[in-house]
Symmetry: C2
Subunit: 345 residues, 2 copies
C-alpha cells in the first residue's frame, strides 16, 4: 500500500507537500500547479489510498466506539431492518457515541470474517445468526473484547435470547384449547438448534394434548416456500385443521395458497406463525396473522445496552437476558374469550 511518504520519495518532495495537495489544499497553500499535477499522477499510479486511521489519530477527532454487527447474508437479511431499527433508536435515545459497522458473512463461515485481526479493529461485537458450526468456532476461540450473541446460548459470551420452548409450546396449547385435532407444521430447515426446539416442542405438546401426530412439511424460508408447502397440505387426503408456521414469510405464502384453493382461514384451518417479520405486515395481510411475537427491536436494544455497559465498566463478565415472546391473536386464529392461556403472556 502506497503512503504519502512513498509518493514524496518518488517525486523528491516532502511528505508535507504531498499531504497538502492530496487534501485538496494545493491552491490555498500555493503549491505550484505542476507539482500538484505530478503528485496526483503519482498517487494514481502508485494506487495511493488514504489511511483514515492515521487521519483520525492525527486529528485527535473524538473517535466513536466502533460496534460491529455480524449478520448472515442470506434471505434473513430482510429481518435486519427491524434489528437495525432497535439499535438506532437506542443509539439516539441514549446518545450513545457508537459507529455501527455491518459485517456480512456466509452461513457456516463466520471464521472467515471474524478474525483476530478484525477484532482488533473494533470495540465490541454483536453476532447474529451463527450456525452450529459458527458457534463452535466462537466457543473455541478467545477474543478480548465485549461480544454479545443474539438469540444463541453460551456460557462464554453475553447472550440476548428468547424462549424457544415457549415459541413451540404456545401454538400447540392454543390449538388444543380450540379443540383442534389435526395439526400441521410448515417449517424451514433448521439453521440453529433453537429452531429444532421450537418444532420439537410443538410436535411433542400436540401429542400430549391428544391430537394427531402433526403433518410436517419442510420448505424454504420464503413466501414461495410457504405457498408451495401449503399447496402440499391442500393435496392431502384429510386437511389439517390448524397450522403452525415457523416464520412470517412462510405463513404469508401459505395464506395465498389457501386463498387460491378456496380454503377459509381460520374457519377451516387456524394458523399461527412465528412473528419474525414486520408487525405492520402481520396486521394488514388477509386475514391478519396470529403470531408468537419475537421482540427483535427490544433484543437489539438490550444487545447494545450490554455492550455499552461492558465498555464503560471494563467488565467483560458474560451477561444473559431472556425476552418473553407474547402471543398476539389476530384473525388467522382468533382468541376464545374464555381461554385464559390466550391472554397476553
Amino acid at each position: 500500500m502506497a503512503t504519502i511518504k512513498d509518493i514524496a520519495a518518488k517525486l523528491g518532495l516532502s511528505p508535507s507537500t504531498v499531504s497538502i495537495v492530496l487534501k485538496g489544499n494545493g491552491d490555498k497553500r500555493k503549491i505550484k500547479k505542476e507539482t500538484q499535477q505530478r503528485i496526483l499522477e503519482a498517487a494514481k499510479e502508485l494506487g495511493y489510498k488514504p489511511n483514515i486511521q492515521a487521519k483520525i489519530l492525527r486529528g485527535s477527532l473524538s473517535s466513536k466506539s466502533n460496534i460491529s454487527l455480524y449478520w448472515v447474508s442470506d434471505n434473513r437479511i430482510h429481518l435486519l431492518s427491524r434489528f437495525l431499527k432497535g439499535l438506532q433508536t437506542t443509539i439516539i435515545e441514549n446518545n450513545y457515541q457508537f459507529q455501527l459497522s455491518i459485517v456480512p458473512y456466509e452461513n457456516n463461515h463466520l471464521e472467515d470474517v471474524l478474525t483476530q485481526e478484525s477484532v482488533l479493529a473494533t470495540n465490541a461485537i454483536i453476532i447474529c445468526n451463527p450456525s452450529e458450526t459458527d458457534m463452535e468456532y466462537l466457543e473455541n476461540n478467545d477474543f478480548n473484547i465485549p461480544i454479545v450473541l443474539y438469540n444463541r446460548y453460551s456460557k462464554k459470551y453475553s447472550t440476548v435470547t428468547m424462549d424457544d420452548k415457549t415459541i413451540g409450546l404456545l401454538p400447540a396449547q392454543i390449538f388444543a384449547a380450540h379443540g383442534k385435532k389435526h395439526p400441521a407444521l410448515l417449517k424451514s430447515p433448521a439453521t440453529f438448534s433453537g429452531m429444532n426446539i421450537r418444532t420439537n416442542v410443538f410436535e411433542f405438546q400436540v401429542n400430549e394434548a391428544g391430537m394427531e401426530h402433526p403433518v410436517s412439511v419442510t420448505v424454504d424460508d420464503t413466501m414461495k416456500g410457504g405457498y408451495l408447502g401449503a399447496l402440499t397440505l391442500c393435496g392431502l387426503n384429510s386437511l389439517p385443521d390448524c397450522l403452525f408456521c415457523t416464520s412470517d414469510s412462510i405463513a404469508l405464502g401459505a395464506l395465498k395458497a389457501f386463498y387460491e384453493r378456496g380454503l377459509h382461514i381460520p374457519e377451516q384451518i387456524e394458523l399461527i406463525s412465528v412473528g419474525s417479520g414486520r408487525p405492520e405486515q402481520e396486521e394488514y395481510c388477509v386475514p391478519s396473522l396470529s403470531v408468537i411475537s419475537l421482540p427483535l427491536e427490544d433484543m437489539a436494544r438490550e444487545c447494545l445496552k450490554i455492550l455499552s455497559d461492558s465498555l464503560s465498566t471494563f467488565d467483560y463478565v458474560p451477561k444473559s437476558v431472556a425476552f418473553p415472546t407474547p402471543y398476539i391473536p389476530r384473525e388467522s386464529c382468533p382468541a376464545l374469550l374464555r381461554a385464559k392461556e390466550e391472554r397476553q403472556i
Copy 2:
C-alpha cells in the same frame, strides 16, 4: 478521554506495562497480579476507552476502506434491507475491501451527522433519502472525498437515479389504455421533489388522456395509511375505477380495506403501485401487486461501483447513472395482451 499514558502516569508505571495488561496479556507476560489489579481499576476509574484507530495504525493491519451509508431513521428504514442486500452482493462478488458503516440521521438534519469532522473519518459516502433541506446543505458545502447520492439529482456529486417522470407516466398510460375513466391517487407527503414529479406527472397525464381529474388522498407512508386512505375512497359518492399508490406499504393497506369492503381488485378497481418494497411480498399478497419496479439493489450496486472507481482512480469528477423502472403487471392490474405499452419497458 483517558489514554494508556494517563493510566501509566497516575500509577507511576510505564505505558508498556499498562498496554500489556489492558490487552489481557498480563499473565502471559508475568505482570504482578497486584499491578494488574491496579491498572484495571485505574482504567475503570478514568473511563479509559481503547483508541482503535491507534491500534490499527500501530498494527499496520490491512485496513479496509470505510464506506459510510447515510440513511434516514424514519419508517423508510424497512427499505434499507433491499439496499444493503445490493451492497453486500456487490462487495462479495467484486471482493471489495470495504468496511460498511451505517449512519442514521433525522429527516432535515443531515448536517448534524455529516460534518467536516465525520467526513475525515471515512473514505467515501453514500447518501440516501436527503430532503430538500438536506440537499441544500450538501450543495452549499464541500467535502473532499467521493460522495454519491442515491435517487437525487446534483451537478456537484455523483448520482444514481431513476426516472421519476416514468414512474408517474406509466400507470396513467396503462389505465388509459384499459379504458379507465375515474382515477384515484393515494400518496404520502413528499419527502423529496421526485415524489411530487411522480404524482404531478400522473395527474397531468391522466388529464391528457381524457380521464377525470383524479381523486387524491394524502396518507401516511404505512399500511395503516393506505388502509385508511382506501376507506376514504370507498366512502366517495362514485368509486374510482383505477388507483395509483406511491408505495407498496400504501397499496398493501389499501388491499385490505378493499377486501373488507367487498370490492374486487382488479375487476372494480385496477391498482398499480410504486414497487419500493420486497418483490416477494408484491407477488404473494392477494391479489398480487402490479408495480412500477424500483431497482434498489441494482442502484445500490452502482453506488458502490462509482465510489470504488473514484477511490482507485483518485478521480472525483461527478458521474451520473439513471436506471429504468420497468412495469411489472400482476393480478391487481393484469396486462392486456394487445397493449404494446405494457411490454417490459
